[in-house]
Amino acid sequence: MPEEFKPKILIFSTNFISDLAIDLTGLLHRHYPVTTSIIRIPCSSMIRPDIILYAFQCGFDGVFVAADGTDCPFLKDCSDRTAKRIAEAMELLKKHGIEPERLKMSAICSVCVEPFLKHIHDLYEKVKKLGPIKRKPE
């Protein structure tokens, strides 16, 4: 029997907002897929679409952007800007034959434990269904 596919998911969290929620999730000993990795950034609007593509190229099967949303300490229109980056990234992914559903963004407030858990589980399940990325041989 082939080994069960456990998607590797990269999470971008934000220093002042969503990372606090992820902290709190751990603090409450709430579990989520362990094949995740987390990178903290100042604000989700700084994510370059090519970086997201890069993550997939490096071997990640899914990317979750835990955005600042309206709580963003920097930008009033942070959600719009992040959404724009994500839309661009999705186009980029499509071009490279990667299903855009592997990428997900959602605003996670600094105590949004439940929403975080829900989103990360949902993404995990979705990516699991999609299976490993069919990477073109280089």
Binding site: I17, L20, L24, L28, D71, C109, S110, V111, C112
Partner: protein
């Protein structure tokens, strides 16, 4: 942390007002001693759900300020401590005695891991959850506490020793004794906040008599991200309530209980909760019995209109009495003022009392040779409201936030910064005389 014995400003009370004043003074280069009687700073705001009218999550926006206060190089934090005595020796010269209550936990060693909490066998009612849940005798005040360190509640501890054995940092120390600190300060800000009206003083509203009557503070906890249960549940049977009523002005605008003032926040927090309930329990109906809806601040009226549009019922009605029926539901009898005062009744699954804000001015007793005047209801009196609202009856002592009267968070912040400004001006005139 090493403690100096001289500070520019002593701030009593580390709710959002005390924290804000400390940060502003600290940023301006003044050395601040911030004294809080509870085990964590943050005051009521740290326990709220979301804030009107922006629906920002209260704990999310409070935590960064709390952390900043804890890490600020110019701020010394003393939690679980009380000011015992203040003597004014002259302008910009106060002698202060502070009692550091024993936590029985070494603050430097404790890592906030919560193991003591897990192993402690004693469960008592949790005051930070407004008694809706239990906590242990060894406990961290609440999830977002700052400092996030344990306290042993010796009144309830059975001295089983489990926490001491299990604590990986060996932080538990039953030999701690109360400690008195003596410090000198140049100015003082009183930021002791407010108390909630005790609803049993108005027995007709059923608190304590009807199981499914709770206070709005309890509802705010039920709606908070760090809430006791995972949903809004009513106390009697843990059912999700489908019909919820609010009774406003409980203990406010009421000379019978000695409080002629309006509490300024309860209309808005009730409206806020109504919106949050509609989010948490989409099928629930919310009715608000009011006398006047006081949506007076920036963005409040718009928020009120939005809540009405979302379907909350607003009934201008004076509630006469509240009774429990056989199923534990709550029958509300009221005069419908928009219907000529006709007597009506309606049944709800849960009734929330919008309890008012009451003065918390006991602190004035520790001032030995100066008298801090109170107003007719007992709030710290702002003696020069139309010229310099942060001043009290004693030069060098200023007041901030709800200690001077009920108000919302932004107004508390504004007053805190105003008090900070007065401290800086006062200290400059009486102590530093600097020119920059």
């Amino acid at each position: 942390m090493k403690q100096a014995n001289e500070y520019d400003v002593l701030i009593i009370g580390a709710g959002i007002a005390g924290i804000e004043a400390a940060l502003t003074l600290g940023d301006a280069g003044y050395r601040v001693l911030l004294v809080e009687k509870e085990g964590s700073i943050g005051g009521k705001m740290a326990l709220l759900s979301k804030t009107f009218p922006t629906l920002d999550c209260a704990s999310c926006i409070a935590t960064p300020k709390m952390a900043a206060a804890a890490h600020h190089p110019n701020i010394t934090l003393l939690t679980y401590s009380e000011v015992q005595e203040v003597v004014k020796n002259g302008e910009a010269d106060f002698s202060v005695k502070i009692l550091k209550k024993p936590r029985y936990v070494d603050l430097d060693a404790c890592t906030g891991c919560g193991i003591c909490e897990t192993v402690c066998p004693v469960i008592v009612s949790d005051e930070f959850q407004y008694d809706m849940r239990g906590r242990k005798a060894a406990y961290i005040p609440f999830d977002i506490a700052v400092p996030k360190k344990a306290i042993i509640d010796l009144d309830n501890c059975i001295l089983c020793g489990s926490c001491e054995r299990e604590c990986p940092a060996s932080a538990i120390d039953f030999t701690q004794e109360p400690e008195t600190l003596e410090v000198k300060v140049g100015a003082i800000i009183i930021a002791t906040g407010f108390k909630l009206f005790s609803p049993t003083l108005r027995p007709e509203f059923g608190y304590g008599r009807c199981k499914n009557v709770i206070t709005a503070m309890q509802m705010d906890r039920l709606l908070a991200p760090t809430r006791p249960y995972n949903s809004v549940l009513r106390p009697l049977d843990g059912k999700e309530p489908m019909r919820i009523a609010y009774i406003l002005c409980v203990g406010s605008r009421d000379r019978k209980v000695g409080n002629p003032y309006c509490s300024q926040i309860c209309c808005m927090y009730s409206i806020k909760q109504a919106q949050l309930i509609m989010g948490a329990l989409p099928l629930a109906d919310v009715a608000i019995f009011y006398i006047d809806i006081r949506a007076f601040g920036k963005g409040f009226e718009e928020f009120f209109n939005q809540t009405q549009a979302m379907g909350t019922m607003f009934i201008k009605g004076r509630v006469i009495v509240v009774e429990e029926d056989k199923e534990g539901n709550v029958v509300v009898k009221y005069e419908d003022m928009d219907d000529g005062g006709r007597l009506k009744e309606d049944t709800f699954d849960l009734v929330v009392l919008a309890v008012g804000a009451m003065p918390n001015s006991d602190i004035t007793k520790v001032f030995k040779n100066v008298k801090i005047e109170l107003d007719e209801v007992g709030w710290i009196k702002q003696v020069d409201p139309n010229n310099n609202p942060a001043t009290t009856s004693v030069p060098g002592i200023f007041v901030a936030g709800c200690a001077a009267g009920p108000k919302d968070i932004p107004d508390s912040i504004v007053e805190a910064d105003a008090a900070a400004a007065q401290c800086m001006a006062y200290l400059n005139e009486h102590k530093y005389g600097r020119k920059r």
